[in-house]
């Protein structure tokens, strides 16, 4: 069984660690490029959202390289994610690929059928170790990404930051020792401190919206990096670690914070609309109350929950007055449009500050 899975941000590193820890052979698909997107768009239905197209491209590239099992996630919510695996399976079978698909849902049927295929049930300590290693990697990656968001606007040599990130992620991928993983994060911290910093007041901007576009740099045209280079400190409200803590592990503090966010949103949106719709509104209000200079709302074009919420923002913006810009991403990869809009937005924020 050679497992492959779609890319989402840097998740390939913890997921690879998890499945290798469980004793499987993993084939990470090639990094997402324009070629991946072109492949995915060619074989996807026209009106489907961007994550479907990119993940289909990832799966095609993974299967081309020799994988024979796909592990993907399911869903039950009103957004389209839950139907991805069925339609992608039909498309890939039609294209002639031979593979098995394991869809991870969190319900009894899925746990009984699908998880037993990947879990070595006779060795529970192996499962526990694999999960711990994967989680340690995810925490280190999350720490590094947050650090970059904070520090990028203040560092002079921004290319060096990218280089350090790349080295850190490669080192994390190569080791399975949890102490080594922690020490890589500390090393990254130390190296960042050694770089020359400028002393300036940065603008603070929060990013809200749909999780795939928030996490996958290819999907959002490296928006966080673009903003950092404009001197903006970015706070990403929706990362995979936060999502897993809130909705899968259900850690109490994360769940309480999520409920607080939903309560904030309730005056504008009375019910969960799927995806991260209600969290988007709630986060906008929370960020306004915390004094952020501006909020950037990003989502794939056509994303149903975000499109509903985008239209409701007009009322919230009238009340809270924090500038908000909504950016939709689709398979057009022209970066100029994104850069000009962000430049105009950042100019507006600077003007407001002065």
């Amino acid at each position: 069984m050679i497992i492959t899975f779609p890319h989402i941000g840097r998740m390939n590193i913890p997921i690879k660690a998890l499945f290798e820890g469980l004793g499987h052979q993993v084939l990470v698909p090639p990094p997402t490029t324009k070629n991946t997107l072109a492949l995915g768009t060619k074989y996807s239905p026209e009106g489907v959202c961007l994550p479907f197209k990119i993940t289909l491209g990832n799966l095609i590239e993974g299967l081309e390289k020799g994988a024979d099992t796909i592990v993907t996630c399911g869903g039950k919510g009103p957004c389209r994610l839950g139907l991805y695996s069925d339609v992608q399976k039909k498309i890939l079978k039609d294209l002639g690929y031979k593979f098995d698909i394991i869809r991870l849902d969190f319900d009894y049927y899925s746990i009984k059928n699908d998880l037993t295929k990947i879990l070595p049930l006779s060795r529970p300590h192996k499962i526990f170790n694999a999960i711990q290693t994967a989680w340690a990697k995810m925490q280190a990656i999350d720490y590094i990404e947050n650090k970059v968001c904070e520090v990028l606007p203040l560092v002079v040599d921004k290319l060096k930051v990218d280089f350090l990130c790349k080295s850190a992620f490669e080192s994390i991928d190569c080791t399975d020792n949890r102490f080594e993983i922690e020490s890589i994060a500390k090393w990254f911290d130390k190296e960042l401190m050694l770089l020359e910093h400028i002393d300036a007041k940065t603008l603070s901007v929060g990013i809200i919206g749909e999780i795939y576009v928030n996490t996958e740099p290819f999907a959002n045209q490296n928006l966080i990096s673009i903003l950092g280079r404009m001197g903006v400190r970015v706070y990403n409200t929706l990362t995979l670690k936060k999502y897993i803590l809130t909705h899968l592990i259900k850690r109490k503090s994360a769940v309480n914070y999520y409920n607080y966010i939903v309560r904030q949103a309730s005056q504008y949106l009375g019910h969960y609309v799927g995806g991260h719709g209600i969290a988007s509104i709630g986060q906008y209000i929370a960020l306004s109350k915390q004094g952020f200079d501006g909020v950037v709302h990003i989502y794939p074009f056509g994303c149903m929950p975000e499109v509903v919420v985008k239209n409701i923002f007009s009322r919230a913006v009238r009340d809270y007055k924090t500038p908000l810009i909504s950016l939709a991403f689709d398979e057009q990869t022209g970066i100029a449009g994104v850069v000009t809009r962000l430049e105009a937005f950042v100019d507006l924020l600077r003007f407001n500050r002065s």
Binding site: P45, R80, I91, G270, H271, G274, M304
Partner: protein, 312 residues
């Protein structure tokens, strides 16, 4: 008390029963007239949502000055483990945000995932809004529901021997502008038209395993209607009628397409949007009908050297 109901979205499936219910309780119900271009333009203020929701806003704007309260139920779920489209879930909030002069909104949640008697609770809430107790509300609903008949399949016949099934949401196919009069146009070309309705009869017919993962009620009905028409050999061709920007349809159309191809049934997908130019629409319909007629004459069965085709 004048209660307004826009003639869009859920109106085509459930509007009549709610209208009769409110009338039983003594309220005056104002339904917006059939869709006009003016309503579409009015509803266009909303970004990126699908056309039926824009039409809904246009209808709501049309009647907002003539009513005391707008009735906009929040259809969250009509069956356990299923959801309605996210736009239904956010509909009352969307209208409140986007309508410039929004009257008070009477909204009830209908969520069968949470509670099996969600509809009954909604009925009682609406009744108490009008000052009626639970017994009066429920008996008013019973009378209204009895008066409304729903058919499993609406079949309209044409002269030729061919039948085409139209798989599309009721709020599209039946709308005056969005529907592009597709049923009449097909009947003009002598085709019988079959439109699977929204009856549970169809739902219980097909317990196909592959439908288990489709969790949108209305999209699921489209698939069940498809399976019903195909299994009963009721159609010679299928048209999937959708609108640009419909989320569920973008994936469900693929599943319907695969179902049609598996059973060797000609399939065409028609996607409409705000453009009202009919030429493109008509040419596609004509081409599809021509193809169906040629199939009857074994048009694709010719010799490898094409001698029979070109020797006159």
């Amino acid at each position: 008390m004048r209660i307004g109901m826009p003639r869009a979205l859920y109106y085509y499936d459930y509007g009549l029963v709610w209208q009769l219910f409110f009338e039983q309780l003594g309220a005056e119900v104002v339904i917006s007239p059939a869709t006009t271009k003016k309503m579409l333009d009015e509803g266009n203020n909303v970004d990126e949502v699908c056309l039926p929701v824009k039409t809904y806003l246009g209808h709501a704007a049309e009647i907002s000055d003539n009513v005391d309260v707008l009735f906009i139920p929040r259809f969250i779920s009509l069956k356990a483990k299923e959801y309605c489209c996210p736009k239904y879930l956010g509909l009352p909030d969307l209208v409140k945000s986007m309508l410039s002069h929004c009257p008070p909104i009477l909204s009830v949640d209908i969520n069968m995932r949470d509670c099996k008697s969600a509809v009954l609770k909604a009925i009682i809430t609406c009744g108490s809004f009008l000052g009626k107790n639970a017994f009066v509300s429920l008996s008013g609903w019973y009378k209204a529901a009895k008066a409304v008949q729903q058919n499993a399949v609406n079949a309209l016949s044409g002269k030729s021997g061919l039948t085409v099934g139209i798989i599309g949401h009721s709020y599209l196919v039946n709308d005056a502008i969005l529907g592009m009069h597709i049923i009449e146009r097909l009947r003009c070309q002598e085709i019988s038209v079959v439109v699977p309705g929204s009856s549970d009869y169809i739902g219980s017919y097909n317990k196909n395993k592959e439908l288990k993962t489709v969790y949108w009620t209305h999209a699921r009905r489209l698939l069940e209607g498809t399976c019903y028409l195909i299994s009963n050999k009721m159609v010679d061709g299928l048209i999937f009628y959708s609108v640009f920007g419909c989320g569920p349809d973008s994936l469900v159309s693929e599943l319907v397409k695969y179902k049609a191809h598996e059973n060797n049934i000609p399939f065409m997908m028609l996607t409409v949007d705000e453009h009202t130019g009919e030429a493109g629409f008509l040419t596609r319909l004509e081409a599809f009908v021509d193809m169906l007629k040629w199939r009857l004459q074994d048009d694709y069965n010719f010799s490898a050297y094409r001698q029979n085709e070109y020797s006159h």
